[in-house]
Amino acid sequence: MNKKITTQSIIAFARNNLIILGIFILAIITSFVEPNFLTVGNLQNIMRQFGPLIMLSLGMTFIIMGGFIDLSVGGIISLVAVVTVSLIDPIGQVAALMVGVVIGLICGLLNSFLIIKGGAFKQSEALFLTYGMSVVFTAVALIYTAAAPVFLTYSKTDYSIFTAIGERFVGPVSVSFIIFLVCLLILYIIESRTHIGRSICLTGGNMTAARLAGIPTEKTIVFIYAVSGIMAAIGAVVLASRVTIASPIMGKGYETQAILAVVVGGTALLGGKGSVLRTVIGTLLIIMMSNCLNLLGVTTYIQYMLRGAILILAIWLDNRKQYSEGN
């Protein structure tokens, strides 16, 4: 009997963590086929590649837990990146970074204002509204730069503080990873130890019930979009400092990757349940999958297919879990 229960629990665990197991197996295969996979250099690569996406994904976790979605983060990345890089020469590195984060915050607040004033309280309505805002933010970035990329001119100026974010290491740990740890700690405390953290889950679970229970749902919406905007801005800064070039369309595609990371991590797509810690695992899996497939020499087209298949599988598993819990 005990043995039967153990087998069932193993099967249940495997079923609930199919994607994590799949990528774990992929990592084992890669480490056998490509010995360089487990070298310090490659782990540092993964750490650096992890930086921009995890920032967005952490912000997106609060949004999805709150029962919403934010497709504007791609546009926010583009806008913040070009403005920050272009301001380094005229106002200095630290001031430019601060301006970038403030722009992210303003974009997030603007999203929440439009959602509340427009009554877009359903996830589908928020999806279209934030998509529209993404187009607006990207258009502003295009107008600001006249569609040309903005890049750091190494041969003329010192950009040591800015580039340290994306390139430098403190011991074996990258600076962007340290920034991530600080953000994770703050967001985890908010999520698990504060009233606003509980409000996010309650709002995402059932907004009407939350409102009737006295939860300030509108303040919660403002909060989650503000966090998403700030995290997108931090992601943009990490990305631009890593790549050292900022294009007005560079954020394109990051919104779907962030949603993928959150859903693969196990946060419920319809809201109410989830955790930033789960998103860390989801993001790590996405970055590792890309790293493994590149090292195994898998072509780009197959990589797209796998990424799409994983998103479909994650949503299917999420729906199945919701259904079984509902019954």
């Binding site: 250099g41 690569n45 427009g118 502003v140 569609a147 890593r242 070039i245 394109k252 590149n294 780009t300």
Partner: protein, 319 residues
């Protein structure tokens, strides 16, 4: 009511943006004045080279007696088809298109020609009959230039990697094909790996380069990256690994390329001179409007090879 307010706010933002626009993405009505009208339809006005191309059409329009305007292809085949039809309806004499998909817009281009409009393809090749003419560099030739550059630095041969442009993009396919064809005569040059990013994104190129550096390390003596902005990511990856002697090739010859030629030890850019291509397009369009027998369908503009020795000979473009 709430939704009405939301719609009003969004429309207000759109109006404000269009009011402060007027840059690359703007659509301008042709001016009166007896000149022929030329409508430029880029693949996407947000593409830096296309935005710069429009500026060059505007800059030289008077020399070629054109009034120039732009309709955005919005990186979408259906939008570009609609733009071609709109240009015909507006009474354009010449339409210059940078195709998002050369085959998909053929019916619209043929209809425009039947309506008496001269249709030119800009910075891409076309099949005879699909358009009146095309002006472009030959992306396949870029591969040959890279092979020659590798042999100049490594006469006995070398090993390296290729990072393509956006997967499935015609320019990326041609650059890869040209490189592969040129390599067939040089077995001493070995390409260890070839990957394409999902889009023309420097961060994606950098991630691919980092993974290639992990896999091949010092075996990499050269990197051929299909575009200069992507090569910025490649350089970052090489710099992080302390591989500062690697020969890097990019394509485009944009402002970033000029910077990299100066700051990286061995950087060469295969430049497509957008200004020259724009001027040539207007020159050829005029020949077709005048029904001049010397007008040719295929017009290939040679690449500029930008190196440490030659960069002083060129003016860095704005894009």
């Amino acid at each position: 009511m709430n939704k009405f307010k939301l719609l009003s706010i969004l429309m207000l933002i759109a109006v404000m943006l269009s009011a402060c626009g007027g840059g690359a993405a703007a659509t301008e009505a042709p001016a009166e004045g007896g000149n022929n009208t030329l409508v430029f339809i880029p693949g996407s006005a947000s593409n830096p080279s296309q935005a710069f191309g429009f500026k060059m059409f505007q800059k030289h329009a008077a020399e070629y007696n054109f009034d120039v305007s732009m309709l955005d292809g919005k990186a979408d085949v259906a939008e570009q088809t609609k733009a071609i039809n709109n240009a015909v309806a507006q009474g354009a004499d010449v339409i210059i298109v940078n195709p998002n998909d050369a085959l998909a817009i053929v019916p619209a281009m043929k209809a425009a020609q039947e309506a008496g409009v001269v249709v030119g393809i800009f910075m891409a090749a076309a099949a005879p009959g699909d358009s009146t003419f095309f002006v472009a560099v030959d992306d396949k030739q870029a591969g040959g230039v890279v092979v020659q550059g590798i042999l100049d630095l490594f006469p006995d041969g070398a090993t390296g990697v290729e990072i393509g442009g956006q997967a499935g993009h015609p320019a990326a396919i041609d650059r890869h094909d040209g490189f592969t064809t040129a390599l067939a005569d040089h077995p001493e040059i070995k390409v260890l790996d070839y990957q394409n990013p999902q889009q023309w994104d420097a961060a994606m190129a950098q991630a691919i380069a980092e993974d290639m550096v992990t896999k091949y390390g010092d075996e990499i003596q050269f990197v051929f990256c299909h575009w200069d902005n992507g090569a910025t990511g490649v350089i970052n990856a090489l710099k992080a690994a302390g591989m500062e002697d690697v020969l890097v090739f990019g394509v485009d010859g944009n402002a970033v390329a000029f910077e990299q030629v100066q700051s990286w030890k061995n950087y060469n850019s295969i430049g497509q001179n957008v200004e020259t291509i724009a001027m040539k397009s207007m020159e050829i369009a005029n020949l077709f409007l005048a029904k001049d027998a010397s007008a040719k369908f295929d017009n290939i503009v040679p690449f500029d090879l930008i190196t440490k020795d030659t960069f002083g000979n060129f003016t860095p473009p704005e894009w």
